[in-house]
Symmetry: C2
Subunit: 207 residues, 2 copies
C-alpha cells in the first residue's frame, strides 16, 4: 500500500478509526458509509472515496465490516513495529496530551516525557516516566524514539527542536507558539489554538 494518499485522507482515516473503535465498543459490527459520515459531519461520498483509496471494499447490503476496516486503516497509518513518541515539556498542555493519549489503542506509544524543572522529573505521568531534559538526547537515541511533541514555552522551543533533530527525531508536532526551523527530512506539524479560535470568531462574525 505504498500509494500516496492525500493529506486530508490521512487525517480522516485516523478519525474514522477512532469513530470505528467507538462503534465497536458499542457492539456494532457493520457500518454504512453514511453512518460514518454522520459521526464525523462529512458526506458519505467522501467516506467511500477515502475507503476506495485505501483499497478496502465493503459488502453491498451490510456496508463495511468494522473490524476489518479498523485493521486495514491500521495497516496504512501504523508501522508494523509501532513508533515511539516523546513529549517535551510537562506543563498543563503536556499533561493534557499525556492524559489524552494514554490508553488509546494505537501503535503510537508515548514512552518518555522530558522537562527541565527538577520538581517535575523522575515521576510518572499517565504511566509514562518523565526524565530531566539533560538526558533527552541520549534517551531518544537509545530508545529509538522517532516522534516528538513539543509543549515547552516559545523561547525554548527552537533549542529543543535542534536537540531533537540532532538526536535523530523524524517528526515533530509543535504546540509552542514559535514556528520552528527544521531540516527537510524532519516532518513538522505546527498547531495553534489561537488561530483556531480566531477563525471561529471570524466565521461567527460573518453570520
Amino acid at each position: 500500500m505504498t500509494r500516496k494518499l492525500p493529506d486530508k485522507t490521512v487525517e480522516r482515516l485516523s478519525q474514522y478509526r477512532r469513530a470505528l473503535l467507538n462503534t465497536l465498543s458499542g457492539g456494532k459490527h457493520h457500518i454504512f458509509s453514511h453512518e460514518i459520515a454522520n459521526l464525523l459531519h462529512i458526506t458519505a461520498v467522501q467516506v467511500r472515496r477515502d475507503i476506495m483509496l485505501i483499497g478496502y471494499t465493503g459488502t453491498l447490503r451490510q456496508g463495511y465490516d468494522v473490524n476489518e476496516l479498523i485493521d486495514i486503516i491500521g495497516k496504512i497509518i501504523d508501522t508494523r513495529e509501532g513508533q515511539k513518541v516523546a513529549v517535551i515539556g510537562i506543563g498543563n498542555l503536556g499533561r493534557a496530551i499525556m492524559g489524552y493519549f494514554s490508553g488509546k489503542r494505537t501503535r503510537l506509544n508515548i514512552v518518555a516525557a522530558f522537562d527541565s524543572n527538577p520538581d517535575k522529573t523522575d515521576k510518572i505521568y499517565a504511566g509514562v516516566p518523565c526524565y530531566h531534559s539533560d538526558k533527552m538526547m541520549e534517551i531518544i537515541k537509545n530508545e529509538g524514539i522517532s516522534i516528538a511533541v513539543i509543549s515547552v514555552p516559545g523561547e525554548f522551543a527552537e533549542k529543543v527542536a535542534e536537540d531533537l533533530t540532532m538526536a535523530g527525531i523524524k517528526g515533530i508536532l509543535n504546540f509552542s507558539p514559535k514556528p520552528l526551523n527544521v531540516p527537510a527530512h524532519v516532518y513538522l506539524q505546527e498547531f495553534d489554538m489561537l488561530t483556531m479560535l480566531e477563525k471561529v470568531a471570524y466565521f461567527v462574525k460573518k453570520s
Copy 2:
C-alpha cells in the same frame, strides 16, 4: 471589507498578526513578504496574495508597515466591540488554554470559565473567574458570551454543547473527542491532537 476570504487565508491572517506582533516587539517596523513567509514557513507569493486579498498595499522598497498591517488584519478578523469567550472544563487542557490566551493582545476576551467540580470553581485561573457549570447558561446569556471552548471529557460534551446552543452561543471550538451535533447557525470547529500525531507518524513512515 465584507468580501469573503478563503478559509485558509483567514487562518494565515491570524498567524501573520501573531508573527507581526513579535516583530514589532523586536523593534522592527517594516517587513518584506519573504520575511513574513520565512517566519511561517510558507512562500512569499502566498503572503502577498493574502495581503492583496485584504486590500492592503505595501511600499516598494520597505515592504509592509508592521503597525498598519497589524491594524488592517485586526479590522478584518476582529469585531469592533470584541467577542467574549468562555472555556468549559478546567482540567489540564482547559488550564493550558487559559494560560496560553491570557495576555495575548486580541479582541477575543476569555471572560469566564466553567467546571462541574466544586473544587475547581470560585477561583481565578489566569485572571479569569471559574464558575460552577450550573450557572453557565445564565452567565453566558447575561454577559453576551458568543464563543465557547469545550474541554470537558467526551461523555459530557454533547450535553454541554446543547446547553451552550440554548444559551445562544454562536461558535464552538471543541477539543473533546466526541464529534458534536449543533444547529447550522452555530459555527463548529473540532480539533484532535491524536489525528495530528497520527498524521505526523504517517508522513514520517513514508520517508
